[in-house]
Amino acid sequence: MITSDIYKTDITPTWCPGCGNFGIWMALKNALTKLAVPNHNVVIVYGVGCHGNMRDWMHVYGVEGLHGRALPVAQGIKLANSKLTVIAVTGDGDCIGEGGNHFLHAAKRNPNITVLVHDNQVYGLTTGQASPTAQKGLETKSTPGGVMELPLNPLSLALVAGGTFVSRGFAGDIPQLTEILAKAILHKGFSVVDILQPCVTFDKIHDYGWYRKRIYTVEPQKEKHTALEKSMEWGDTIPLGVLYQEQKETSEDREAVARTPLVDFPLGIPKRDDFLNMFQ
């Protein structure tokens, strides 16, 4: 029997004590354990931010990319070798700010990858500026008078752009997050898991208690528009769970090489003479 320990290295994490990232890390290892994916068949692509520091503590193939660019790298890997389990571990500033365009287009294409959005409303690694998902009024280092605009909502964006698995978890509920992540990884298509994550150092308002008072679990919505409505519910109540799931053709399905991973194809030009004759 495998335990979640096979997915961790012996390096000690450096996240702040109480950081929501611990819960997400645990849930991710649990989900991989549950699905029994061999370490060498997992590739995790990380963005840059506190979340990304997870790379040194996971015993799988890792790619630490550039800030905001995890999704294109993850799509390249999946298109090259569709046998791999490809997961993008990203942050809210990383994935919705710097990488917002990549997020929308990944949802549009529907690659069979899973993206975790560590959503804590702040840029922790640069000492606490507001992220694109910061709630209006939140006072941060870059918004001393409070955030002026309404936040971007990763779930609504994913739904509108064509995401086929749209879900939200909470870093403080590891069993539920494990379930959601396992379903997300199993889903054939672009799976978004927005994870509410308290930043215990830079956000004194949205702590574990704040979230616990508000969160509740919803069932998957049959219609996209009701899922969209649920995704926008934020205030006294905040829904968690898989909000929406549908089956659609994936990026890899559309490729000629869908049945054989690209990496296993022979190099060179098949029927080369015929191909070159085109240029006569």
């Binding site: 060498h40 890792g62 630490e64 890997i77 298109l79 194809f265």
Partner: protein, 576 residues
Amino acid sequence: MKNFVTWKIGGEAGFGIISAGSMLVKAFSRRGFYTTASNEYPSLIRGGHNVITVGVGTLPFHSLHKTLDILIALNSETVEIHTNELHEGSYVVFDPKDVTPNSSDFPPNTRLIALPMSDIVKNLNATVLMRNTVALGATIALLGADFSILTDVIETQFKKKGKTIIDENIAVAQAGYDGIKKTYGSLNGWYLDAPKQPFGKLVMNGSEAVGVGALDGGMKFAAIYPMTPINSLITLFTDHKKELGITYIQPEDEIAGINMAIGASIAGVRSMVATSGGGFALMVEGLSLSGITEVPLVIDLGMRPGPATGMPTWTEQGELLFVIHSGHGEFARIILSPGDITECYQLSQIAFDLAQTYQVPVFILTDKYLNESIWCADKSVFDAPKMPQDGKRVTEKSISPDFKRYDMSPSDGISERSVPGTEKGLYIANSYEHDEKGFTTEDPLIRKSMTDKRLRKLTAIISHSPTPVIYGDTDSELTFVSFGSTKGPILEAMKILQEKGMRTKLIHFSWVYPLDGEKLKKLLQSEKRLVDVEGNGTGQLAKLIMQVSGVDIQEKLLKYDGRQWYPEEIIENLKF
């Protein structure tokens, strides 16, 4: 009889200018002639002034000449704009419905040939857009060629559209041919000689040659955001991706493109991107990622005039120093700059092996002139592709138990590389500084050793770098220096200078970076007179040569008006 003819057709966009030129090229190359075609067009889809210039020769040649032997005008503007490119004895074919040219506006003995192209298509119930086909028929007559060379190409060109369309085009072309034969049958000033070696040639543009080279180099994944001048590479890949077993993906932007290609390469697939200067500017961050993660990557950069949007559909060689210095941080790279389609093919193939061997980004530095011009090469050029070399890539069988992806011990700085799915090959491709397993580190000793390891690859590359290719007289009184597509016009200029009794040589850098400074110094110091010829305003190659070898080339011919060099211009600009 002539052994070389320069022909130009001009008209509005949408008049079939480019297709007329490319059909003419194919018609003659199939019969063993050497051909090339270069198009000029503004950045719009309808209207504007479009031209394509075609050279047809019985012997190999390297570039077009500026003076025109035959000008075909599908509107009055073409006559007005290109009169100054004509010479004594040129032919001008025009439609009397468009323009009434006055012979005093032309060089002496210009033959003004009125061909009622609009009436011809009207009489055959064809559309006005088929005047280009009338012009093609007329051209075949003026060059004294057999009409059947055109029917061949028409049949290929319209194969998908069916017999009716083919017959209609042949009838229209025949009418153009007959129109010349009947009225101007005695004109034989531009009749072409028979080709010397009537065997198979392949015709393609520079982008397509890069594509074929890439495919022979084992390329399986391309993520390319559309941009002039590399769009026909996208067309080649998308049209044939199924039969080729490759993946082409159109990314949302160039940033995504390079990151996807890096991802595919990490997963073990040979990958590439292609773009122009502006798109590459967006890729620079990703280039740096491939530098620190040591991921093989090939970048085809088709240069065009900047800054910013500049002149999108024209040509320039302005990105050499940008590419050399691009990317934050210090890391090795290789830059190849093909001078013709043979080199586009060969160097693109080699680029993928170099990327695999050294685990560095490799550039194919092309330009609009090379990419979009149509060229022909002997079929033998493409005969024997090399087997792709995987460098230090390890497999499940060959991997050692203590595998370290970023092993610092090799003297050439090149470590073994595993791909995901390999059981004992786990590592982190880490954009942060890392140790030999890929784990993040800020340790000063490891940082220094890891930087040294990466930079040792540069030394290894230099020690294996080929010397520049030398053409012409060993004992030359004048030595040209160039990179990329400037090669062709220089070689043609050298022919003209040779006829004038001048001994010249060309030192061409198709491998342009990194260079071996000491070797270069020895090579250049013994030359009597060095002349640098470049398609930019600052002499970027000369600066690079100065930097690595200390040789300061004073005499520079620089062109940066968006047009390629012509051999005549090189000679005009030389001081005698």
